[in-house]
């Protein structure tokens, strides 16, 4: 566990040293704030004391921002050769991968914590369902976990960061929207399968306040799958 946290710390430090973290925070807060409070179907238009608007927007902003955080994670280490220094230190491949995963997740969590003023503001305006807010944030964190895991896998494929970014978006696109679109075109079993694969299905149910094991299994199995594939790619570079 110590070793994992050393990597997590290093990744976070690199995020903040390289301005990436600030760009993410400003970008994320800017986008989500603008669409939550000022433009489109914002909170005033909806006229309900709920964070549903914000969750719907964060659902998309995180989807686009996360690949830009994960793209360099392994690709850059490969390109500069630092992966060799890292993997010849007393640390296992798994510890490296999980450390990097947590590093990105913590940064996303920081971004989410900074949106808590939205929650305080709205709860002072009207009666808000606190349970659905908590589970909505949980949903965002779990969804981020899935995309970070996919992003790490995409980054481990080659030593090119752009490939890492685009591949993560491409794979993410399927879960984010394509499966959802396909599922509406089918009835019966195929429709249910695609609907189950779609991120929106699970995110909506959890952000409404329903924490179902079916959804948790979905999130965690995707996270694990992504990390296992990343580990396999890393192990392959040793042979």
């Amino acid at each position: 566990m110590d070793k994992i946290l050393i990597i997590t710390r290093k990744e976070l430090k690199q995020f903040f040293d390289s301005l990436m973290a600030y760009i993410l925070l400003v970008g994320f807060l800017g986008f989500s704030g603008f669409f939550t409070w000022l433009f489109g179907s914002d909170i005033f238009l909806v006229g309900q004391a709920s964070l549903q608007t914000f969750f719907a927007i964060a659902f998309w902003t995180l989807f686009f921002f996360i690949p830009s955080l994960t793209m360099r994670m392994i690709a850059e280490e490969r390109k500069s050769g630092t992966i060799e220094t890292l993997l010849t230190k007393p640390i296992s491949d798994w510890q490296v991968i999980i450390g990097k995963f947590l590093g990105t997740l913590v940064l996303v969590c920081i971004a989410l914590v900074l949106t808590l003023p939205y929650y305080f503001t709205i709860s002072s305006i009207g009666k808000i369902d606190h349970g659905s807010v908590i589970s909505g944030y949980l949903g965002l964190i779990l969804m981020s976990g899935v995309y970070i895991s996919i992003g790490l896998y995409a980054s481990s494929i080659s030593c090119n960061q752009i490939v890492g970014f685009l591949l993560a978006l491409l794979i993410g696109m399927f879960f984010h929207i394509i499966f959802d679109v396909i599922s509406t075109g089918f009835t019966g079993l195929p429709g249910e399968v695609f609907s189950y694969l779609s991120m929106a299905t699970h995110f909506e149910s959890i952000s409404r306040g329903v924490i179902d094991s079916k959804d948790l299994i979905y999130f965690f199995s995707l996270i694990v799958l992504g990390l296992v594939l990343t580990h396999r790619n890393l192990a392959r570079s040793r042979s």
């Binding site: 110590d2 070793k3 050393i6 290093k10 430090k13 690199q14 040293d17 390289s18 500069s80 050769g81 630092t82 992966i83 060799e84 220094t85 890292l86 993997l87 010849t88 230190k89 007393p90 640390i91 296992s92 040793r238 042979s239």
Partner: protein
């Protein structure tokens, strides 16, 4: 702790990079790893440090095998990889701290240990700079510092002095020699003089096979089955002399000495001496023999002889 390489082979796809090599580096020994580019030096070092898995064979460091005790090996090894990869956006101190933590150096010792490494490697003035801002020589020192920070039992250094200026090279050499007294050191280099000055023993590898293993003196002696002399012959037509020397019974090869019209290097056939014949030749032809100096092969010659085909 010894490094024991047993029948190690490594294939990259269909290409065989290292072909069934075995050698041992003992504690207190500094072994130089020489060979042309692409001979398999780096591959072997990567395998010893557990970065690459062998296609076949085994490598042990002390009692630990790379197959199931990789993590134990990584604890005792200090490794400077080829091209010295570093996190360019970290400062020197941060980087060394990161490495020290990975090696589980106790928290209270980390800072002191970093300062020690900074002093030993001469990074005093650069310790707060980002690594990306450092010149190549300073980066190389950072690379060495990270390899030495946990006081490793075994050191594997892939071209430790590349990019350093002559003063630094001498400092680093001294450092390696000092460390090498009680530790096990395997270093690779292109610079033969350096290997000769630093190492107790030399391994020459070519096309994935070990072609020589011994001390510098042993290697010289081995390639010196034949006698070599430098001669200068005046008052004669150089091409005629060349021809006549080549035709001597005891002479194996003749070559012109660079920058001289009438200077030659003569290599005798194995177990023979051509000195008397050369003298008699000159006497017979009425040429003036102004120089005849026997010389020993340099390490460069040994290297060339073993690795060119």
């Amino acid at each position: 702790m010894d490094i024991i390489v047993e029948n190690f082979s490594k294939n990259y796809g269909p290409q065989r990079a290292v072909d069934n090599i075995s050698f041992t580096v003992r504690t207190g020994e500094i072994v130089g790893f020489l060979g042309p580019n692409g001979a398999g030096k780096t591959t072997t070092m990567k395998a010893i440090t557990t970065f690459l898995e062998p296609t076949s064979g085994n490598i042990r460091v002390g009692h630990f095998s790379i197959f199931n005790q990789g993590e134990e090996i990584r604890k005792v090894i200090g490794y400077l990889p080829e091209n010295n990869p570093l996190y360019t956006d970290m400062t020197v101190i941060d980087y060394l701290e990161f490495i020290a933590r990975l090696h589980s150096i106790p928290k209270e010792h980390i800072f002191q240990r970093i300062l020690e490494m900074v002093a030993i490697c001469g990074l005093e003035g650069e310790k707060h700079k980002k690594i990306g801002e450092l010149s190549k020589g300073y980066r190389q020192r950072v690379g060495l510092a990270q390899a030495l920070i946990h006081d490793p039992q075994v050191l594997v250094l892939d071209e430790p002095t590349s990019g350093l200026d002559p003063n630094q090279i001498i400092e680093i050499r001294d450092l390696i020699r000092r460390i090498g007294k009680e530790k096990t050191v395997l270093l690779s280099s292109h610079i033969l003089a350096e290997v000769e000055a630093t190492c107790d023993r030399i391994l020459i590898i070519d096309k994935g096979k070990i072609v020589a293993d011994g001390t510098t003196d042993e290697l010289r002696r081995r390639s010196q089955g034949s006698e070599m002399v430098k001669v200068t012959i005046e008052d004669a037509e150089p091409n005629e002399v060349y021809q006549a020397l080549s035709e001597l019974e005891t002479v194996e090869t003749v070559s012109f000495r660079t920058g001289m019209d009438n200077g030659f290097e003569v290599q005798s056939k194995a177990e023979m001496s051509s000195k008397r014949d050369i003298f008699l030749l000159c006497k017979g032809k009425g040429w003036i023999l102004t120089e005849m100096t026997p010389f020993t092969a340099s390490l460069e010659d040994v290297f060339r002889e073993l690795t060119t085909h």
